[in-house]
Amino acid sequence: MSFFGFDPSGPPPQQRHPGPQESYDFQETYEGLGEIDDGLDDAMNNETFGVSSVGKNFDFASSVPAAAAPSSVQPQLSFARAAAANDDDFMKDLWGDSTPEPKAPAQQAPAAEKQDGRKILSLEEIEAQLTAIDNPLQRGMAQGPNMQQQQQQQQQQFYPGMPPQYGGYMMPQGYMMPHPQYGMPYPGQFMPPMPMGQQMPGMPPMPVGSMHPNQGPPVYAQAGAPGMPGPPGPQSSSAANTASQAQLQQPPQQQQQQQQQQQQQQQQQQQQQPQQQFAPGADVNMVQTLAAKHPAQDAAAFQAPVNQRPQSHAADMSQFPVLGAPQAQPQQLGSGPEILRSADSPHLAHGRHHPAMEDLLPEEQQKLAKRQEKVSRIMRYCGVMNPKDKDFVTRFQLSQIVTDDPYNEDFYAQVYRVIHPKSASDGSVVPVSQPNSIAQAYLDQSGHRLGGRFKRADVALHRMQQQVQKAVTVAKERQKLPQNVREGVLGKVSVGSGKKPRQQLVILSKAAQKAKEAEDSGEVEIPVDFKKGRSGSIAAPSKPIKKYTKKDIMSILEEIISNLMTCESESRLTNDVDTTKLWESLHVLDQKSSSGDDELFVNPFIQALNYSKALKILPRLFKFLTRDQILTVVTLIMANLENLKVVKDGSYTTYADKKVPESITKLVDVYTLTFCKVLMNAVQEFKFTEIVGLLHILIQHNVLSFVSTTKIGLSVVTSLLSRAELMTGEGHISATDLSAWTSCYDELFTALESRIAAIFSPNQADTEDDYVWQFLATLSLGGKLSHQRIIVDEVRDEIFGVMNRAKALDCSNPANLYKKQNMLNNLNMYLVVMGLVADENEIQELKN
C-alpha cells in the first residue's frame, strides 16, 4: 500500500478505555467483519494493496492528528485499512449501522458495505450541514489552495490504482480532475457485481448482478455510502484528511444519525485545535472533495469535520438531532444533492486550479462561484452510469422496438415514410437499411458517444448497428418463447410485452365464437343460410340468385381488402403471388346481373363499387389482376352500369330540382379520381374488338340516354369511344373490325339521338361541363359529317349560350377572365373537331 503511504503496522491494541486524547482501541471496537473475505469477490485485492492480510490493528483516531499528540499511527487512510476496519461495535459507534465501504473491498461482505454506506451517508450529511453552518463564517481561504492541490495529487495518485479493478473504467468521460460527483462511477461499478445479501432497513434491495435502470438512484444511495471510503494517498497534512473526510460525508444519505452523533461526541474529545486552522480551508476542501466523489473512506476522516471546529462543537451537535429527525427515513438521491447544494455556497471556490481567493475580485469570485455551482449541478449526475450500463440499457431498449419484419409489424410508419417522404434537410434521399436507420436515429437523439467523447462518430454508429443486429436476433428468438397468456393453477395469467400488450378485453370474432360454441355443444351444424359473406363460391347457374344485404357486401369488401393486403405483403417478399384467392373474393363471377335488376340481387362486386372504400382500392387491386380478369371486370361493369349508384342516382333527371345531391357528387368525385383512371388504363390494353364488344354490351344493357345524363356514365362512354377512335386512327384495324365499329357507332348514335342536348345539366356551372364537351368532341370525331351535323343542330343553343355568357362576363376581374377562357376552351374542344373555332363573338373556321 505504498501509494497510500499507509503503514499497516499500527500500534498494538490498547486495553484500557480510550481517554479523551487517546485513540480508540481497535480490538475493542472491531466488529470482526473484516474477517469476512471469502476471497472470491476481490481477486485483485492483494495486487492493489500489496498486503495479503491487513490485520486488525488499526487506529482510526490517528487520521485526525491531534496537535498535542501526533499519534503514532499514520494518519493516512487506505482502502485496505478501511476495509479491514469492520469491527462491528466500533463501526456501530462510529457510523451507526453502516460500515465504511472502500472501493477495493467492495467485494467484502455485502452487509458490511450496506452498513458502511448508511453510516457514511449520515456522516456526510452531517458534514454537509456543518459546511452549511460554516459557510457564513468564511474565514481566510489561505489554506484552500494548498489543500486543494495536495488533495488533487493524492486523489490522482489514488485513481490510477483503481482502474484495474473496475474494468478499465477510469473516470467519468475521461475527466481526470476530481469532480463534484457523488462517487457514482465506482459504486456503480462495483455494486452490481456484488450480491447484496443483506438489506439495509428501508433501503431498496439490490438484485444480484442486475443493472436494472431503476436501480440507478437506489444503487447510488447505497453505493454512495460504500463509495465513501476515506481519501487515499499519503497525506502529510491533516488538512487533506479533513478534506477527504468532508467529501466522505457529504454525498450519501444516512440512516442512523444518532450513532454518528455518539461517534462525534466521542471524537470531539480527542480532537484538538490544530484542526482548527484547517477549518476554513476545510470548507473549501469539503466542497471539493465532495465534488471529487472520492470513494476512499476513512473512519478517522469521518471524525475530522466534526473536529474541525471545536468551538462550534456545541452548535454543530445541536444541529444533529434536527438533522436526524426529518431524515431518519431512507432517502433517495434527492436529499444528497440538497445537502450538497446547501454546502455548495457560492463563495466557495470550486475549482482546484484557482488562484487564491483573495487574488480575484469579488465579482469575479462570485461569477466564478456561480459558474462552479452550475457546473457542479450539471456534473453532479454525470457518469452515474458507466458505459457498460448504458450499453446494456440501450440494447435492452432496442431489443424491444426492433423487428425483423418491419413492413408487417411497423406497417403504418414504413408505408407513411414511403408515401410522404420527409423533406430532407439537405435535399438528398439516402435509403438507409433498417438497422442503420435505427442506429443513426438513436445516436442522433441521445448524443451517445460510445467509446469516448472524442472518438469518431462512425465508430459509435458501427457499434450501435452491431447492437441492433444483436438485438434483432435476440428478439427473433425471444418471440418464439412465451405466449401472452399463461395458464396457472388459479386461472389464466396474461403477460404483456411491447408488441403485444396485455388485453383488457378478450373479444372473439364471430367465427371464433361460433367455433367455440360448436366445440362446446359438441355438434357441428351447417347453417342453411349462406348469407354471411361466403367466400370463393362461384355460383353455378342452377343456384338460386342470392340476396345480398349491406352487411354481406361490407364483409365481402373487407375480405377483398385483406386478401389484397396479403398479396401486397407477399409481393414484397417474392415476385410470384398467388392471386386466385383474391380473384375469387371479388365475386365477379358470382352472380350474373345486369342493369335494372333488383337492387339486392345485383352482383356483389357491383354492389361493392357503391362504396368509396372499394374505389380506393381499385388501382391497387387491378395491379394484381391479369388482363383477362380485368376485361371480365370491365365487362361486368358495362353490363351493370346503371346498377351503380353513381349512375343510378347521378342523373339530374331523377331529381325534382334537377340537382344531384351532394353525397352523390362526392361519390362522383371519388369515381373520377379512381374509377375513370383505372378504366382508362385498362382500356389501353384492350383489343379493338373487345372495345367494340364492350360498347355493344353497354348499349344493350343500359339506357344510353339516361346514362349519358350522368357524369360518370358519360366518362365511361367517352373513354371507350376515344380509345376506339384512336385505334381506328392508327390504321391497324381490319375492314371487318372497321365495319363493326361503324355499326356500333351508329347504334350508339341512334340511342342518343335527339337527346343529346339533355346531357347538359341545367344547374351545372360552365366550368364544370368540360366532360360534356369532351364527349361531344369524341362523338363528333367518330362520326361522319351527317352525324356531326345532327350533333351541332342539337347543341346549337348550348354553343351560343356559352359564347354569350362568355361575352357577358366582365373582363376586368381576372377571375372572370379566367372563367371566360375556360368556357371558350371547353367549347372549342368540341368545335375544333369539326374544324371550327369560336371566340366570344363568332364562330370561324379553324385556320391552321
Binding site: D410, V415, R417, Q445, I561
Partner: protein, 96 residues
C-alpha cells in the same frame, strides 16, 4: 405496434396531450417508445395554468399509462393508410 408505429410518424409535430389528471400539455413530440411513453419539447399547459407547477418546465417525459388523449391535427394522419394498418393489426390479431 400500431400506435407506436403511428406516433413515430408524428415526431416533430405539435400535439396536445391530455392526461388523466386533466392537465393538457401542448408541445412538440420528440420521441415515443413501445409503451407510448412520450417525450415532449417546448411545452406549455393549455388549461391548467392555475396549477403553475409546469411553468418552468421545457421538456417532459410522460409515462404512457397516464395519457388520456393525444390531440393532433387532422392533416398529419393518412386515413386510408391508417385503415389499412388497422386491418393488418386485426388480421394479425385474428391470426394469433
Amino acid at each position: 405496434m400500431l400506435f407506436f408505429s403511428f406516433f413515430k410518424t408524428l415526431v416533430d409535430q405539435e400535439v396536445v396531450v391530455e392526461l388523466k389528471n386533466d392537465i393538457e400539455i401542448k408541445g412538440t413530440l420528440k420521441s415515443v417508445d413501445q409503451y407510448l411513453n412520450l417525450k415532449l419539447d417546448n411545452i406549455s399547459t393549455v388549461n391548467e395554468e392555475k396549477y403553475p407547477h409546469l411553468k418552468a418546465v421545457k421538456t417532459l417525459f410522460v409515462r404512457g399509462s397516464t395519457v388520456r388523449y393525444v390531440h393532433l391535427s387532422a392533416n398529419s394522419v393518412d386515413c386510408t393508410l391508417l385503415q389499412d394498418a388497422s386491418r393488418r393489426e386485426a388480421m394479425a390479431q385474428a391470426g394469433k
